[in-house]
Symmetry: C2
Subunit: 581 residues, 2 copies
């Protein structure tokens, strides 16, 4: 940098001007334009979804071990961002990227982010967030109504009543779940007599006071890992998250739940267990399936426990009448969480947690002299988080711009894309679909046609003797083991090819349960994805799968012939090494 | 809306186009321009800082109880935002707003927000955040080095090593403190023998296994309320946050700490107490004071407990050599949190939590099949939060644009403004300054000159008999009670006037301790604030204070003359009513 320039940008006067929205917005527009072009280039680029750079290479780009001393020109730093950051970002908005719950976002979101940053309100307190506190409460009321559908009068009375909160805006589903389970914990161990409640006294005193050995949370095996995380954070212990197996539709097995609840309730004396919450899932993140909410509500009510529904993924579908039947019973939940950065198509990251009882959040109410005084109207009294951005503007404005009708069109497209994808995969024959997709998530795997036929033949075989049945089960297990390894390798090959993207997971609730099956996982919510793109995605997977197959075929043939030999390819899941994905 | 328009914006084709960055960015630029003007108008407006609208009026503006059905044109919604939201937002960036830790932000932050939203990376997982994961780790390493200053080799080895994490990026100080105390809890009750650790087994089993009655956290009375919140969330119980009184410099009283620690450690049998953490504060949010970190480190080390430093407010000052002496001893902390939306001048909200031991975060490591696999390099393995935005780009780019040198200039300005403010207040004589400001926070109160003189005379009086001393103390107490009420009323009057803004709090650690004194609180970090603005702020406060004084003077005169009568104005702190601030 020439020394004169350096001197300028090291002066206070130069810095001060950065803090002023320039009187003539030329400079701002100039950079804005430049940025738009960067973004354009990025999205237009034909290249890979993840950029071909390796992680070790990236680690060498970002290897400055100390903060820069000297200032730099904005344009130089923006150029650096373009070259080093944007170029090696993941094109999560690409219509070929159908692997995670991220999608393209409408461009007006970028304008909303500008407004949010410029206003820079802090939602913790009315002194730093005036209209924005009311926007947030209005948004929360909208979703509360979608879930609970209380009377018009109820919302008029409560939506802007600072004495209560219908819910909180959070940084996302994980915090929403934590918030819900925190409230459930307070409800499970309330103050009584000389006992000041778990909030004051802690978990140990709470269990002792109420004479319980432990407090547990029940959730299906498809539950999000944030439930386990919450149990750990809340001092309940991860071992007190009891997972109920999923049924073949990837929903919580209700009979399993009832058996477990009966077992827990029969514990006496030293083994007394408090059921703190039952968690239902409305759109699990792996398969999109919705638990049987009415049944779960029934069990929760009979036990007298908090019923939480994790609808972080699916909840926004409540906007659209034709999706609502899926969520039957959700209004019986004590709390429900819904994310905005998923099906509301907002940028990362914002969630909501809603409570049926508008007084529930009073159980965790906080106050502080300098920021959220006891009798204030500050939103921060009810939240786990402290300072929070005005992120609620994004879904609030998006709902006005897109409307329920618009979201209806978007979700219909997502459903159509899901159906189309399924149809294409079926037509290709070398794929096996492993769920009946709810909420736009389809899981499947690559299985050469002849293998699939063989598996189905084995599964259909009847009138076998016990030893024969065992033999068939063993063979199915062995073949699935091989196909698992094949799909792990296929997924790696897809990542290398990098023109398309699906994710991968392992499930025990497919038709082969209890065997763990490795599946490819697709989320089909990007409205820019269409039939031709889906054809291309499947074509690529089929091509790469077939290229890999010869490597696995000998093992398959051996398994077919019942030759007992350990299959060498089976260690694929153990992704060792520093840079494994 | 005309029906034709409605039809267009209800079509999928119209919606689809919203998801595409337009090929010609005209539309985008048009809205961007419009938005810029909105923002301009907002900042230029001469009017009040909080807008004069009342909260009940606002509650009638945002009273839609149901989600909009039909879509609306973007421009109409943006106009609505301008009219209803921006116009009634708090001008936290105003140079006359010196009351909270929010300031003007550099305009390039808005451009960075555009990039973040457009890239829409999800930091939880490398498949959704490639370069951005490395940017985040680089940023964390920079601050780790500012705090701990380990060797160049240490950072080269660890900063981009996915097996460990030097820290996390969080949504802000509250989550950072929770994260630090969660790790402290795991360290306090680790797995041993058949005991699987508190994370697995929960708080009750942990205390029982280790034979403790309770686990406590020690923090000064100036500790942020998030520490209490964290203790509650973590299942420790709020009553197990032990607050150590603050000394007259608003720092933790170290002798008080030692006494408390000795007392706790002498507990035997049923009363055994585990000290989970000692929390120091490096820039408390009420007065800016920094605890005696070397002493706190010493005590922590002697006890063998986790030493956490809450530097959410002050930590960024480590960037500037002349501030570093304040933080002496911070490198002995096991964990330190620093916020970006405070002294790094980033928009709401982002924090960092740093750990001295790069293996500490492994104690809370999580994995999940579909998103953060065990052997992955995903950042989400170490965080409390799940999906997270690429917010780290803002401080990362700001440090490049502003540099340590630039932050040096900004902090020098903040210090100069603090000194200037103090000087102006002293010159005005009707104010009493109640701290020796560290880190740009000045607390003071309005006290008419004659009252201040009288208080000082009483405090200076020597050779008094015990009954006389009691009488003087009583009088001081009574007068302070009156002055408290005056300052609460003054603060309300300032809010009504609304041309300037300072906040208000109540402290027991002023020269009048243990009496609780209501103070005005100013944070002088906005680089646009200058001497003339500070003069104006003080002039307004002095004028309004003097206008209010006659209402309080009779009570003062009575107190002066020792007439015992309950002062009617003393209930000011009980801010009743639905809309109290």
């Amino acid at each position: 940098m020439n020394p004169e320039k350096k001197e300028i940008i090291s002066s206070f006067e130069y810095l001060r001007k950065l803090f002023i929205m320039p009187d003539s917005p030329d400079k701002f527009i100039e950079f804005g334009h430049q940025m738009l072009e960067t973004i354009h280039d990025f999205f237009k680029e034909k290249g890979g979804i993840h950029s071909s750079i390796t992680l070790p290479e990236l680690s060498r780009i970002f290897d400055e071990t100390a903060v820069p001393d000297a200032p730099n020109l904005i344009k130089d730093v923006l150029a650096e961002i373009k070259l080093k950051v944007a170029a090696h970002s993941v094109k999560v908005g690409s219509p070929y990227y159908v692997g995670h719950m991220t999608s393209a976002v409408p461009y007006f979101m970028i304008i909303l982010e500008m407004i949010i940053a410029a206003l820079n309100q802090n939602q913790v307190k009315i002194e730093t967030a005036k209209a924005s506190s009311f926007v947030e409460r209005e948004l929360v009321a909208w979703f509360h109504r979608l879930v609970y559908n209380r009377t018009e009068n109820y919302y008029q009375r409560n939506m802007q009543n600072p004495r209560v909160a219908l819910g909180n805006v959070t940084s996302g589903g994980t915090l929403s779940n934590l918030n819900a389970l925190l409230v459930a914990r307070e409800k499970a161990f309330p103050p009584s007599g000389s006992f000041p409640g778990v909030r004051e006294a802690g978990m140990e005193k709470a269990l002792r006071h109420y004479g319980y050995d432990r407090g547990v949370i029940l959730v299906s095996a498809r539950g999000h890992y944030s439930i386990r995380k919450a149990a750990s954070i809340l001092g309940l212990g991860e071992q007190n998250v009891i997972t109920i197996p999923a049924d073949s539709k990837h929903r919580m097995d209700v009979r399993g739940l009832c058996r477990k609840v009966d077992g827990l309730q029969s514990g006496k004396g030293k083994n007394k267990t408090k059921i703190i919450a039952i968690v239902g899932i409305a759109g699990n993140t792996e398969t999109g399936s919705v638990d049987n909410l009415p049944k779960l509500a029934e069990v929760s009510e009979s036990v007298g426990t908090h019923f939480h529904v994790d609808a972080a993924w699916g909840g926004a579908a409540l906007l659209v009448d034709e999706c609502r039947t899926l969520f039957q019973g959700i209004d019986r939940a004590d709390s429900v969480c819904i994310d905005a950065h998923k099906l509301l198509y907002c940028p990362m990251a914002m969630g909501m947690i809603l409570f049926k009882n508008e007084k529930d959040l009073n159980l965790i109410k906080q106050s502080s002299q300098y920021v959220i005084r006891r009798n204030s109207v500050d939103t921060g009294r009810f939240t786990i988080e402290g300072s929070r951005p005005f992120d609620s503007l994004k879904p609030w404005a998006a709902l006005k711009i897109i409307g329920r009708e618009g979201y209806g069109l978007l979700f219909r497209r997502a459903r159509d894309n899901t159906d189309t994808f399924q149809e294409i995969l079926q037509r290709r024959q070398n794929f096996e679909i492993l769920n009946s997709p709810e909420l736009f998530i389809l899981i499947y795997r690559f299985v050469p046609q002849q293998v699939k036929k063989q598996l189905y033949k084995w599964q259909a075989s009847k009138r076998l003797s016990e030893p024969e049945k065992r033999e068939v089960r063993k063979k199915i297990g062995k073949v699935n083991h091989i196909i698992n390894a094949l799909n792990i390798k296929l997924h790696k090959a897809l990542r290398l090819d990098d023109t398309t993207f699906v994710s991968r997971t392992t499930l025990e609730s497919t038709r082969y349960r209890p065997q763990h099956i490795t599946v490819l996982r697709s989320c089909l919510i990007n409205p820019l994805t269409d039939r031709s793109i889906l054809e291309e995605i499947v074509k690529t997977q089929n091509r790469l799968g077939m290229e890999l197959w010869p490597e696995f075929e000998p093992a398959y043939l051996k398994a077919l012939n019942g030759v007992r030999k350990t299959f060498a390819g089976g260690r694929g899941e153990q992704e060792q090494g520093r840079w494994a994905l």
